[in-house]
Symmetry: C2
């Protein structure tokens, strides 16, 4: 693609940006902010679920939580809306070179994504193999299919290559996962 | 409706249950649990947004947050999916007998609901007049319309009566707000 000033856009999807040491969470938050700014989608990361035990009310506006505990999340980290569709996902990093351990995702998070799918929403997981600089999107349908047919406690990387989608890293947005949703849900031409 | 044992169901929508001292939040959580249990919808309250400053890692499994602060939410408290549709709402109680002060809702929460509406989702507020035992649902379209045409800092109860919907209290679910969504979004017969 040629730009008016004659320069070719060289940055898009370049792998150059994958070594900046940004966490997957930072990348997804940046991406969601980009979507929000350009009015493409409304997706947020949910706050960390905690139980609050003690609060020190110094003043009405300045309460300090002095004792709280992390609790197991019932749902996934991210949800929102894209073109009227409900989307919902969980994001995880792994240092493994060969597989993604299912211990990384709570069983009820998978059940939650299954429910989303059954209610007509779009559910998926985003998995980054940090040492390979590869980030994949795997739809819940494919994850459930794997679990139905395998007793393994981890998903081999080859399954992501076969059934998942690579989310290419870019400058802005950093992880354009909506492009994959768009293809799957809205790009009807692909079937012709 | 007659039940097999000959007894009539007398509990539904009875106002008897409105004086139990349950908070609106408890009622909505109960309702959402009911929807989840009967596979009607998947709606959750988001965790309270906080920033965590200090964590004491006694052990890997037993971390205690020893300093954290409440932060202003960017979004609303509740979201989820119903029949493939994204739904999103904020819930507030008021002790006023005559109006609902707009100070109760952050400006960016209203902007968030407006975005949801523009992206094809269903956005609304749930307002309970606690001293009247009345709970209303007001769609974001009507809230925006009010804000456009009024400089007032509060919405009179009469506006809820005119443009909102009463959520009748029942035993189970306690606040069947989906019935109103159903009428508005899916019950095409009402137009004929």
């Amino acid at each position: 693609m040629n730009y008016p000033n004659g320069l070719k856009k060289q940055y898009k999807n370049s792998r150059t940006y994958s070594n900046r040491g940004m966490s997957l969470e930072q990348d997804l938050n940046d991406t969601n902010n980009y979507y929000l700014k350009w009015n493409l989608a409304v997706v947020y990361k949910k706050p960390t679920p905690i139980t609050i035990n003690k609060v020190n009310y110094k003043s009405r506006k300045d309460a300090v939580i002095t004792e709280a505990h992390f609790i197991t999340p019932s749902t996934t980290d991210y949800n929102g809306i894209y073109k009227g569709k409900y989307i919902d996902f969980e994001a995880k990093e792994t240092k493994s070179l060969t597989s993604f351990s299912l211990n990384n995702i709570h069983k009820h998070q998978i059940q939650h994504l299954e429910k989303i799918y059954l209610h007509g929403g779009i559910g998926f997981i985003v998995v980054r193999f940090t040492r390979l600089n590869m980030t994949y999107l795997l739809f819940i349908e494919e994850l459930l299919d794997f679990l139905k047919n395998n007793k393994r406690a981890s998903i081999p990387k080859s399954y992501f290559d076969e059934k998942g989608y690579i989310i290419k890293e870019g400058l802005n947005p950093r992880l354009d996962y909506l492009k994959i949703i768009e293809k799957k849900e809205f790009d009807y031409e692909k079937d012709f």
